[in-house]
Amino acid sequence: MDIYRKKLSVIVLFLLPAFIIYFIFGVVPIVQSVYFSFFEWPGIFGVALKPVGFKNFINMVNYKEFWIAVKNVLIFTVLNIIIQIPIGYFLAILLSSFCKGYRFFKTVFFSSVVLPITATALLWKFIWGANENGLLNVLLTKIGLGELSAAWMLQPSTALLTVIIANAWCGLGYHMTIGFAAVTGISEDVLESAQIDGATGLRRIFLIIVPMIWESIRTSIVLVIIGSLKVFDIVFVMTEGGPNGITHVLSTLLYYEAFKYNNYGLGSAISVTIFALSIVMAIISLRLTRQKEL
């Protein structure tokens, strides 16, 4: 049996296809991306890379748009935590009180998670009204609040918010599901004895349930942070970073700098920043999930 389990030629043969694909198209590029950030490239095939030292990073930190993107990612993260997690977990707690019938509601809340973001983002464009027409404005006018209608996606004060709300709509069900698993995992005895001790309603939620599912809540928070750090699709489709670049996030800025304006050096510096930040977050998230399993 041991000979069977240690046959090296078989081991190598089975590992090889995955290894080759992963190494060439995953590992090499990520190493290259760090290397690239010290070079300049005009985006024309055949033109050699020009070494520029730390210039790309210096340009990046002196670039106003970069700090706007950083600020937007921070706003994105904080608001998504504030919106998605309390609502998602509250729904989870409500759902967990059902023995039957929770399936329907769970399906409703989770369905937006599986949808293609491109499609969802376009749909939200119709709700906010990318052109003059928009569902929200039409409805406001119908109920006599026409003066409240606005060009939601075009005015600087609400442009980022429109994206954040659309994004929260996509992600809420996800955190509800994590929360649901955690809440239904609490043992009946604990909840019953809390009930006998007089912990009901909000006291029951905040003093008993929340502390017991704190680990899951932390994981959810980390997942929101990772997701916000990498958010691309929804911003790209909804606002394209506009109006005037005020809704750019790190990855849309990276895409525009590299592929629209051919600033590959600056783009690479931004890629490395995203990479470094996501590694930090991924390590934290692995720590947290491992803790949970133990």
Partner: protein, 285 residues
């Protein structure tokens, strides 16, 4: 009978009242959550000029003109077909090479096994955006509009998480079944194909769902690597359709519905599997 009413009367019984309020709240919230979907689904059947006149009204007739226009004139049929092919092929490649690699990682013994495993799964931390510049520098020329190449590029990102999902499950398969097959004289490949793969089906299905959604919904790779219109997939196709026919609201709504149906259908048919698949994939950084 009166006791029945006492027991379930939300006005007098506080427990029933709690339940009643929960139902009301959840129903209200469901309406908010479903509202955007309701809007896009009904609008897909309306004339463009009617959509914003009475946005919430049910369509008078189920007019399929929008779908026909999007499908034929808007090229959605081509994008949809491409998405199905691209997603299908990528899924097969990912599952095939990942199950192959997970077999020695979980069932055999060799030096540096854990190092190799960590090497693979650390790829979960690679953000796809961070590789897009080097990839387009190195493979930009070869990969441009080259679907097999794009399949491999995307597969590289999904292999780590897939191995991670499969490994835990394959490790748990009891050795007896495998050893019986070995004694019967099965080769490694036969053991893998006839014993390990069938027994790993639940994990493979979970991984398949997670991968299906990631591939179908991916925007960045097609955006950078596909420029030919007849090779475009749904995600980009939707955008170009939207850009070309901005005033054809009905057509765009229909196209959005077409893009949403496959993932939605998968979820409705395989509810818990899909939830499990996405939860399991959450570790992907």
């Amino acid at each position: 009978m009166s006791s029945f009413f006492e027991k379930y009367n939300p006005i007098t019984n506080s427990k029933a009242r709690g339940k009643f309020l929960t139902y009301i709240f959840l129903s209200a919230f469901s309406i908010i959550a479903l509202f955007p979907l309701y809007f896009v689904f009904i609008s897909a059947f309306k004339k463009s000029s009617d959509i914003f006149l009475n946005p919430l009204a049910f369509p008078n007739t189920f007019n399929l003109d929008n779908f026909r226009r999007a499908w034929e004139l808007g090229n959605i049929s081509v994008y949809f077909r491409n998405s199905v092919i691209y997603t299908g092929v990528t899924l097969i490649v990912i599952l095939l090479v990942s199950t192959f690699a997970t077999y020695p990682l979980s069932r055999m013994k060799f030096r540096f096994q854990s190092v190799v495993f960590i090497f693979f799964i650390s790829g979960m931390m690679i953000p796809i955006q961070s590789t897009i510049i080097p990839l387009s520098y190195t493979f930009g020329k070869i990969a441009k509009d080259n679907i097999p190449m794009i399949v491999l590029l995307f597969a590289a990102f999904q292999i780590p998480i897939t191995i991670f999902l499969l490994n835990g499950f394959m490790k748990g398969i009891p050795v007896e079944l495998e050893e019986a097959a070995i004694i019967d004289g099965c080769t490694h490949f036969e053991v893998f194909w006839k014993v390990i793969i069938p027994l790993s089906t639940p994990a493979i299905v979970t991984a398949a769902i997670f991968n299906f959604l990631s591939i179908w919904n991916n925007l960045l790779f097609p955006l950078v690597f596909i420029s030919k219109k007849n090779l475009q997939v749904m995600s980009i196709g939707l955008l170009s359709f939207f850009a070309e026919m901005t005033s054809d609201y009905g057509g765009v709504m229909a196209a959005i519905v077409v893009a949403m149906v496959p993932p939605l259908l998968a979820y409705i048919l395989l509810q818990e599997k899909v939830e499990k698949g996405l939860m399991a994939g959450s570790i992907k950084g």
